[in-house]
Symmetry: C2
Subunit: 435 residues, 2 copies
Amino acid sequence: MSEVKLGLCGLGTVGCGTFNVLARNASEISARAGCELRVVHVGARRDNPACDTSAVRVSRDIFKVARDPEVNILLELIGGTDTALELVREAIAHGKHVVTANKALIAEYGNELLAEAEAAGVSVSFEAAVAGGIPIIKALREGLAGNRVHWLAGIINGTGNFILTEMREKGRDFSDVLAEAQELGYAEADPTFDVEGIDAAHKLVILAAIAFGMPLQFDKVFTEGITRIATQDVDYAEELGYRIKHLGIARRTDAGIELRVHPTLIPESCLLANVNGVKNAVLVEADAVGSTLYYGAGAGAEPTASAVLADVVDLARNLARVQKPTVAALGIAMKAITPQVILAIEEVETACYLRMLAEDKPGVMSEVARIFSDADISIEALIQKPPQPGQTRVPVVILTNKTREGKLMAAAAELEKLPSIAGEITRIRVESLDG
Amino acid sequence: MSEVKLGLCGLGTVGCGTFNVLARNASEISARAGCELRVVHVGARRDNPACDTSAVRVSRDIFKVARDPEVNILLELIGGTDTALELVREAIAHGKHVVTANKALIAEYGNELLAEAEAAGVSVSFEAAVAGGIPIIKALREGLAGNRVHWLAGIINGTGNFILTEMREKGRDFSDVLAEAQELGYAEADPTFDVEGIDAAHKLVILAAIAFGMPLQFDKVFTEGITRIATQDVDYAEELGYRIKHLGIARRTDAGIELRVHPTLIPESCLLANVNGVKNAVLVEADAVGSTLYYGAGAGAEPTASAVLADVVDLARNLARVQKPTVAALGIAMKAITPQVILAIEEVETACYLRMLAEDKPGVMSEVARIFSDADISIEALIQKPPQPGQTRVPVVILTNKTREGKLMAAAAELEKLPSIAGEITRIRVESLDG
């Protein structure tokens, strides 16, 4: 095939970025693909002044692109899950390969979509769906194909990382930084997806499915956001030699797979702790290779375009030789995908950071310590500062050893019942991230 | 193809590691490859007790493996460039695909070998040749295929990084750490390849060829080792906010391509500065994606096996559908590879760290400053400490702004002529590593 013809749906940030990067780097890209790559049909409800589509057929009805007999690969860059799902189905039904940047679509509907594509002999690729421009899908699916993956942990939401970085570096409040992130365009007007961890959960589900050869199970992810992280937690973490990052973690254990998104204390010396601002990074621990880490821009027009075009070039390189995709979307064929037990969060074992407000009077620390001791949870570190003038309560920070979460929840409930402990206890999981 | 048959030549560290990882992870690997992968023929001058080859045909004459009609893919894991070159040629001539971990072979003979393979319709893959288990070849060749790469900088020799890390963290001398590295098996008995930068130059040449679509030109790399780095340089660097890393750097400029391996001061806050011990990392700056970084184990039996097997699985996934490789070894077909001007080191522009020993008397600093000023080189920072009791000379450390190296060499020669400057001036290049 001397020319591969692309249909591009969606002219928002990513669609426009993809169109422009493809035009700018056309000669490099076609040399690598071994053929010309040409956008022959754009589907978008409206034009985007950042994108000159005057030489291309443009349809307001994006489904026309999916049905266009000329189109070899459809780029689904409209986002959302309703129309996008229909569009991708229509494209598959018409024998098109699909490249998408849509994490929600793959995380929530991927099992059916990828099976449909496989049956139709076309591919659905989604490098851009996770960690923007970082080629992490390819690394897991191909680069580490000789390994048994033990676990992976990623900073996979740039907005969340920006907020936590600002809180640490400048001592700012969560809500203050969130407002700035919205102004800067990092966070959506409705920031729920970012700060509550839903976006990270979408991405984690995709990474875990590839790492462990299991179905995409978005409904099974334990998800906790960063809205309750206080600047004092950031400071105490620092005092203990840790930083707080919002991580997506997937881990293989004898009992099942852990699948969780939550704020996490990690040692300040590890590389992941030094990934700041809107950057993303994924750390993968696998049996043969050991630790590898992949770092870069997790969002933005051109980083995402980079990932979309990587998928397009992969496909074009294939199409030059053979019509069918050579690499399965999740690394193994959908029919070989094996369901695995996903652990409930109560079954997960981690160390834990607890912060509570205690009466500053004799006997309180002994009550607190007794509850941990009775629960057979050992205390790794404890911080209690002298009370501020005029205060009768002091914050107490405890770092536990690794414990089953169910046990820790019970102990925390016991602590909250103590008359000498005021209000709720803040709990943040701790990971050492070593082998 | 329901079974892909491997011929494995070399039962040293990497050969044995590959054999064992393939056996251990057979079910995962075959699920990913979509077929069985079986070592049918081992070629090795002697057995390795770490590796049970009893169920496999073993030949003492490795060329028998290259000629074995049953073998689909030959794994060249013997190292060196003489026999390895012959072996790979023989395999290509017999229509075998080749996977190799041999950086010297690819860097020095790659242009001819890859062209021969291309003409024969077989592939020569070498993910394991650069940065061990880190899938950096795949990232550059495929993951960033939509980009124009501006530059890349890598810690691509683990031994060198181990030595520099120990020097910084423990204040130890170069020769002392080198001796330990040799004991630990990180460094060869003849450590020249590692500490003089030849190993890094081999790897850099491969990365640059893929990044810029140009021929492999090992003879054009400027290479400087770490043998002259003193602990005081490490300390002064720290004082200035930098760390010293032995980097391989390839950069596209308007005048040509920079290709250089040398010790480099880099800002301590950048991720690359925090890659310690025997670990490797490569930072890539490209137009669409921006900065991405790839980190992991740069050597060792199983990390290298991981990369070898990634290539094998890639090939097997292909062979299931089509006999010919779909991705060119360097990302673009050898016939489309374009020679580019490689800049002489004198033409390269960097900032520079200079350390000299100066008489502690009036007028010396003004002479020094005059030479920089006459050469139109501006001074960014200067450290001069009070003399130690009984010393008449003091070390002077200067950090310049970015300057053409030729100009700096001339200025340094001028400085060395001053009667008030004793001995040679230590010069170490400085890179900011930002966009």
